[in-house]
Amino acid sequence: MNDTFLISIVTFIYFSAAFVFLISIVFNKKSVDKWALIITVAGLILQTSAIIIRWIHSYQLGIGHAPLSNFYESLVFFSWSIIFVYLIMRKRYQNNLFGLLSAFFAFLILAYPSLSGKVNCAIQPLIPALQSNWLISHVISSFLAYACFAIAFGTSVLYLLKIKMKPSMLPDAPFLDEVTYKMISIGFVLLTLGIITGAAWADRAWGRYWGWDPKETWSLITWLIYGAFLHARLARGWRGVKMSLVSIIGFIAVIFTYLGVNYVLSGLHSYL
């Protein structure tokens, strides 16, 4: 079975999940909830299988490596991370809006390669710089962090919507504020781990743990913004609109760390 074909099915599944979550929110039907969850879990299982199949396939091609090494693979893992984080946090924040956001983001990310048509989805061999034991831990911690920040971004935008337009469909503002904070605090720890594993890797590959390369610098910028967020909230008691804005700016920095550095700036991290 071709893994890219499975991923296109998963893309459709996440779209359906988002749609069913939307129905359950709009019509406020509890019976639909269960279905949305089942569809999401099915999507994650299929996506996990696709990742494993790709992994095995790379070994059959004689260039075996974890499927975390190019843009396409990073997109697939990014969307996987979002659904994974959602399913873990679900018990705590039983709200379908949370599900709608996650499924919709996961769908958008997976749809991007097929819409743009410029993303190479072939399995490529690993260039020397990527042949490292640090690859897996660095990529996993970084993308789980991105996933947390993506969800926090979603809840921050909804918070602003709730405050400005007061739609009854959305959950209470304090709830959204709380989810934003929780996702950012977990994301911050994961981002720190991602930077640490990246530094350890850079030390092996380039002989220095930190070199102010654009990718490194942007990860620090992201870290500083979310660091400011946590201090403002925990020590200064900031809440609400201000915090949502910081969270949105933080996510812009995340996107720039992930993509902008590769497309706009130049540096050592020219692979993703």
Partner: protein, 445 residues
């Protein structure tokens, strides 16, 4: 003045400002390429812009005076803020007083009071269940007028925040140590040659090593797709012309000697030699392989002509590597022509009695080795471990304390509960409300 400074540095507002200011200014250095030569910058920017950028040392901004100042201010800020927290945290983690202060039941952040008409032993059992499921096994204390239960868990999670802040200081100190005592540069060594000079990055001149590094061999492998698979350098450390130790470096597999780290960084072709040119005598059909080096004349077998190569190009007109051959025959003007490699069109250059083909040649590589020394690394690693420990302590553990008092007398006991938690207060309160409700239900049964 000192009071004002102390107030400034003990404020979290300053920390937030510094975080955001560092973030905003850091962007500059990712847009303006760092560490190029001044000539390049002069070509890139107009004189006015150039002088402003130079004034603020934007071309090497992460090591500039103002960026360093910001980091020092942040360090002072962290030290002052952390020390301010120390007494409170020591108080929180030091052992509980044996005597319970009754004011807790009026002042604690989480409080609850209810009455019960059950027997004392039942109430005590219930109290233990509540405390056990919320916090942990309680300690019981009996005073003449009341019975107290008390439990505490996870007090060391309070240290998490201190760990995180100390680790940031360690990492900054490690970075500073590396900047002052370390260096980072590159040496390019041709295969078979040795060098002891490192060209430092950022145009900071060169550094002589106490020993020589000899490049014994460099190899590069490619995948079928043409993507690079492996770069490898075999090197030997030499001291006064004597071998000390040999090693191999590949990307991600550095070689470490005397605290210096040697990493595979780049490579290139330094030269070519040992050309093999096949000549075919068109008369006899005999083929001979000529072994040639640049500008060294050899005689062609079975004739009085001689041959030499005068030039090499890696790619001649898109037809691959080629050598410029010179054919010298007595009594004739010398003949100059390009000779191409096997399997290419035009590869057999017909010249009179002879046909020429370039069969092979050996490439002489140079390897680019990044050499670095950073005595600050251990501090940074300790910082990294400590920051993760700090995060785990403060993320996965909660400091919970609970006190319960049973007072009053038979038929009408009063149960007072006081508690404090370091986080997730809401869910703790919900849990407490649920448990006390259960107790109340049991009571009415």
């Amino acid at each position: 003045m000192i009071k004002k400074l102390h107030k400034l540095f003990s404020s979290v507002k300053l920390a937030i400002f510094l975080f955001l200011f560092l973030a905003a200014t850091s962007i500059l250095g990712t847009i303006i390429q760092q560490g190029l030569s001044m000539e390049r910058y002069k070509a890139l920017y107009s004189p006015g812009v150039f002088s402003v950028l130079k004034l603020f040392n934007i071309f090497n901004m992460y090591h500039s005076w103002w960026f360093t100042t910001l980091l020092i201010l942040l360090s002072i800020n962290i030290i002052v803020c952390t020390f301010k927290q120390v007494p409170r945290i020591i108080r929180l983690i030091s052992p509980e007083k044996k005597e319970v202060d009754d004011s807790i039941f009026k002042s604690s952040q989480i409080r609850k009071t209810f009455q019960s008409q059950k027997r004392l032993s039942d109430i005590e059992r219930q109290a233990e269940i509540i405390i056990k499921s919320l916090v942990g096994t309680p300690v019981k204390m009996v005073r003449d007028d009341a019975i107290y239960f008390q439990a505490e868990k996870g007090k060391y999670s309070r240290l998490g925040m201190i760990f995180v802040h100390i680790s940031i200081l360690l990492i900054l100190a490690g970075g500073l140590t590396g900047t002052i005592l370390g260096f980072n540069g590159q040496m390019n060594i041709v295969e078979g040659e040795k060098s002891d000079t490192v060209t430092l990055f950022g145009g900071e001149g060169t550094k002589k090593l106490d020993f020589d590094v000899r490049c014994d061999d460099f190899t590069v492998e490619f995948y079928e797709t043409g993507m690079p698979k492996e770069y490898k350098t075999d090197l030997t450390i030499m001291n006064d012309g004597k071998k000390v130790v040999s090693g191999t470096i590949r990307v991600n597999h550095p070689f470490i000697y005397q605290g210096l780290k040697f990493c595979q960084a780049t490579y290139g072709i330094a030269g070519v030699s040992d050309f093999k040119v096949v000549t075919k005598n068109n008369g006899t059909g005999d083929e001979t392989v000529l072994k040639l080096n640049m500008m060294k004349k050899v005689s062609l077998p079975g004739s009085n002509a001689s041959f030499a190569i005068a030039r090499f190009v890696t790619d001649h007109g898109g037809m691959g590597p080629a050598v410029l051959g010179v054919l010298l025959e007595p009594g004739k003007a010398h003949d100059i022509f390009w000779i191409f490699q096997n399997g290419r069109n035009l590869n057999q250059q017909q010249k009179g009695y002879f046909a020429f083909t370039l069969q092979d040649f050996s490439r002489l590589y140079y390897t680019g080795i990044q050499v670095s020394k950073d005595p600050g690394v251990p501090l940074v690693w300790i910082g990294f471990c400590l920051i993760m420990m700090g995060f785990i302590l403060s993320l996965f553990f909660t400091h919970k304390r609970i006190w319960l008092r049973i007072s009053g007398s038979q038929d009408k006991y009063e149960i007072s509960i006081a508690a404090s938690v370091s986080k997730n207060r809401k869910s703790f309160e919900e849990q407490l409300a649920g448990l006390t409700r259960e107790a109340a239900v049991e009571q009415t049964k």
